[in-house]
């Protein structure tokens, strides 16, 4: 089949072509010299890790205003033979490029039809139009329903055009979105950003087959997915992005899952990997988590069980939105959670942050500005605040504890200590937290958690948004506190290499469940496969859960 496809490839018209497209957000280069073309009836698979530049590329193609606002892009884009430069999505739609977003842009209280034909409704004329303008024409509902139904039929799914979006299963919403793009008269190219991420297996199958149908009608499709199997199944050609560079462009027939995973994560990490990995399986269990669920919007944890050994650094990895961040947030009681958590063999009450802190756990949140820091307070305050509140340290007591007074001298001493240990670049403890750079703010967050002298420290995305130098310092600090002070650490990060450099073991979370736990020394492709949900065991598990056990 692959050869057949490549044969007629040259005969078909080019719908979309990128030439030397590049983009940097101020100092930060995210795309560099991207060249590819999309032909009529072709499905192009686009893969890459988080932050590889996929989204930025799609934003350029769809004319999202954020691109123009941040200084436009380099290179040129052609639709057909016509060079284009979109300033808004409307211009892109005008040229026949439609996009199905990861977040649904559907109106929940509307029916499928109403959403498909949003702002393109079919209307009846009435005389009021003459006086008050087009918008007073009435809707022609029957005709709209017919047209909405037709668009849905094209996809080959059985969705009533009168069904409310709010009542639809998530997969149907996805189809409705696609149907909206199809319904446009002039759509030539559809960009789908992770359309199957939210679908069940069966729904994904239907979607893939409807994509093929669309392609047969001559529509070009750019398909972004983390599920490599799907890409292989549906795409004609695959391009792989890594760190803003197009590293590979291959015919789907020439690729397989392992190869793609290698291309995606294949770079060498330059940060020094700590070699002394802890392999002591007999270590004492410090934290035991069973059937944990966490209701954290965007990071739902469904059913997670794992153990943390005393003295180790456990990494939690996985793609964004799969639930890895939800785990520490749930255990620390910041979001509604359920299940059993045992710390030193005592039950940890969930949904009660204070109790958890008292038990000897601490948390460095990924949300530095929201939860982590008191931005308008001094560093002194920031570092000592939680310790004062929770442990009543750095507090002088009078009259048998009736009157509590802040011990400013002790606080000063503590702060200067941490400023020194963590090498925080500041003018001293009296400075306001908001005046520090991102990396140094992160260190303050760490210092704040360390000031509690916890037995177990959760660190969530410690290097998010800070530069390379600062990254290393922060990671070093975490590592050192683990090795030198014996603090057990559970670190969550989206960057696999970062986890591999610091952690002893790494747990990969996918779709709110544990995909697997591997020693940090395992090859990165294995982690990649776990993350992408393509490992054989995991796939099987998912099928079982979907009630579709393969007997053969």
């Amino acid at each position: 089949m692959g050869t057949e496809k490549s044969k007629d490839k040259t005969e078909k018209n080019v719908l979309l072509r990128c030439e030397h497209v590049g983009k940097s957000f101020f100092e930060n280069r995210v795309l560099n010299d991207i060249n590819f073309e999309l032909r009529e009836g072709e499905i192009l698979g686009l893969v890459g890790e988080n932050g590889a530049g996929k989204s930025t590329l799609m934003k350029i193609l769809f004319g999202m205003s954020v691109i123009a606002q941040t200084g436009g892009y380099e290179g040129s884009v052609f639709v057909g033979e016509k060079p284009v430069k979109f300033n808004s999505p409307f211009e892109a739609l005008e040229e026949g490029i439609g996009m199905v977003h990861q977040e649904f842009s559907l109106i929940p209280g509307f029916t499928a039809t109403e959403n498909i034909l949003l702002n393109r409704e079919i209307t009846h004329y009435n005389f009021l139009v003459e006086a008050f303008g087009e918008r007073l024409s009435t809707l022609n509902m029957p005709e709209m329903i017919e047209r909405g139904g037709k668009a849905l039929n094209t996809l080959g799914v059985d969705i009533s055009p009168k069904m409310l979006i709010a009542e639809m299963p998530i997969g149907h919403k996805q189809f409705t979105e696609i149907a909206r793009e199809i319904d446009r008269q002039n759509t030539k190219v559809i960009i789908l950003d992770e359309p199957t991420a939210v679908l069940t297996e069966t729904e994904a199958e239907i979607l893939l087959s409807s994509l093929r149908k669309l392609a047969q009608k001559g529509i070009g499709i750019i398909f972004i997915s983390h599920r490599l199997q799907e890409i292989l199944e549906v795409a004609d050609r695959i391009i792989v992005l890594r760190d803003g560079i197009l590293v590979k462009e291959v015919e789907a027939s020439e690729a397989d899952v392992v190869k793609i995973a290698e291309w995606m994560v294949g770079r060498k990490m330059d940060t020094s990997v700590f070699e002394d990995k802890l392999e002591d399986k007999n270590a004492e269990v410090l934290l035991e988590v069973k059937n944990l669920w966490v209701d954290m919007p965007g990071e739902t944890v469904r059913n997670v069980s794992f153990e943390v050994y005393k003295g180790e650094v456990l990494g939690i990895g996985g793609l964004a939105g799969q639930g890895k961040i939800g785990i520490p947030n749930g255990i620390m009681g910041l979001f509604p959670a359920g299940g059993t958590v045992k710390f030193r063999n005592t039950d940890v009450p969930l949904n009660n942050p204070r109790k958890v802190l008292n038990l000897g756990m601490a948390f460095v949140s990924e949300d530095r500005r929201g939860v982590g820091l008191l931005l308008e307070e001094t560093l002194d305050w920031n570092i000592s605040f939680t310790a004062m509140q929770v442990k009543e340290w750095y507090v002088k007591k009078y009259l048998g504890g009736l009157i509590k007074w802040r011990d400013d001298a002790a606080i000063k001493q503590l702060t200067s200590e941490y400023i020194k240990t963590f090498d925080i670049k500041c003018q001293g403890g009296h400075q306001l937290a908001q005046e520090l750079s991102g990396g140094n703010q992160q260190k303050i967050c760490l210092a704040k958690a360390f000031a509690l002298k916890p037995e177990l420290l959760f660190v969530s995305e410690p290097t998010r948004g800070i530069d390379v130098g600062a990254k290393k310092l922060v990671l070093d600090t975490i590592r050192r506190s683990n090795r030198e002070f014996g603090m057990t650490v559970v670190m969550t990060s989206s960057e696999l290499e970062e986890l591999r450099s610091v952690c002893d073991r790494i747990m990969i979370v996918d779709e709110g469940k544990v995909a697997g736990i591997l020693p940090a020394t395992a090859p990165s492709t294995e982690f990649g496969l776990l993350m992408l949900g393509t490992s054989e065991t995991h796939r099987r598990e998912r099928e079982i859960q979907n009630g579709k056990v393969k007997t053969k």
Binding site: F90, F110, L118, N119, E121, R135, W293, G339
Partner: protein, 365 residues
């Protein structure tokens, strides 16, 4: 199956918590007040006729997602200005009312346009902004009516203008148009008089709303109301749509105030509009509507329940506690307390709904 039935019943209770609470209260206050059924029915009929239109004016901003339009007092003021003019010119009866409405239209459009523009700059805080806006425009209204009228704006009727030569009197007698609409077609059922013409007008307006929802503009408003960003992305001019919804609401509030005052028969120049917004909103909430969802039945149910409480509670309070004055305080407590409670219940309900929506994402525990 049983549990789901139970749950849906519970959901129903939650959804109608406010009206149910009110019906419960009424069961106590009606016998306590000692009013005859005939009087109560007559009072409710009158109040339905005079207040429904005002409450209806709230619907369109709710559709457009702008919450409860406390800014409807702007329309009320425009309506009152229309009434001042027709009283000055001594235009009476139905033509007088119609003319007052026509005069109010451009003023309402202008005020609605201002309100819409301001609210577009305060997205997400529409209710409190429109409330404060009402006070601000009230100041301008007082300035115009108390200082401009008679001087810069010619008002000749000595019954309207203070003897000092400018400024409108505190209370204006609307004898010329008093109950002209209510008595246009009047039907007596038993001893209860029914203002048929007013009800015809109200039902015509209900049909207008139903029709309006089916227009492209109505559809756009619904879209904007549910998700501004999606609507924007689909190319619907969000801000413009919101302004139009405010304008329509303000114009209708102006009409509503004219209908209201033709029934009352007296215009308190400086105060008649004060409570319009508050009471209409209270009635709507009590009818089971929420900040984001309101239907036509909500309106009629709400007007009846709210005013039933209003009429019976002072007397019930007096008879219960034995002091006339405490009866009045009882009424205040009931009527304002209930607005607070229904807003709190709304927030609670939304929280519950959100929780329920996410329920399936949680573990089996």
């Amino acid at each position: 199956m049983k549990t789901t039935g139970k749950r849906s019943f519970k959901n129903l209770l939650i959804a109608y918590a406010v009206p149910i609470m009110f019906i419960g209260l009424s069961i106590f206050t009606i016998p306590l007040s000692g009013f005859s059924p005939e009087y109560l029915v007559q009072e409710m009929v009158i109040r339905l006729a005079r207040n429904s239109f005002l409450v209806l004016a709230l619907l369109i901003p709710i559709i457009a997602g702008m919450g409860l339009n406390f800014g409807m007092v702007l329309g009320a003021m425009a309506g009152q200005i229309g009434l001042i003019f027709i009283t000055d010119w001594n235009i009476v009866g139905i033509p007088g009312m119609a003319l007052a409405m026509i005069i109010s239209i451009p003023i309402s459009i202008f005020l609605g346009w201002i309100a819409g523009n301001i609210l577009n700059r305060a997205k997400g805080r529409e209710m409190v902004t429109s409330y404060i806006l009402g006070f601000f425009i009230n100041g301008i209204y007082q300035f115009i009516v108390l200082y401009m009228m008679g001087k810069a704006i010619p008002i000749g009727n000595p019954a309207l203008v203070l003897s000092r030569g400018y400024g409108i009197r505190n209370a204006i007698n609307l004898e010329g148009i008093r109950q002209s609409l209510d008595n246009l077609i009047s039907l007596n059922i038993g001893k209860v008089q029914i203002p048929v013409a007013t009800f015809i007008l109200i039902s015509a307006f209900c049909f207008f709303i139903i029709w309006f929802r089916k227009t492209k503009l109505g559809q756009d408003m619904r879209a904007v109301g549910q998700d501004m960003e999606v609507a924007e992305a689909a190319g619907i001019p969000v801000n413009k749509t919101r302004i139009i919804s405010m304008i329509i609401s303000t114009v209708l509030a102006g009409f509503g105030q004219i209908i209201f005052l033709q029934n009352i028969g007296t215009l308190n120049t400086y105060n008649s509009h004060d409570q319009t917004g508050m009471y209409s909103i209270a009635a709507l909430l009590i009818g089971g509507a929420t900040v984001s969802h309101a239907t036509i039945p909500n309106i009629f149910l709400g007007v009846v329940l709210f005013h039933l409480m209003f009429v019976t509670s002072p007397m019930a309070g007096k008879n219960l506690i034995g002091s006339a004055m405490l009866g009045e305080y009882f009424r205040l407590f009931i009527s304002y307390g209930i607005i607070a409670i229904s807003l709190v219940l709304y927030a609670w309900r939304r929280h519950k709904e959100k929780e329920r929506a996410r329920m399936n994402l949680r573990g089996n525990s």
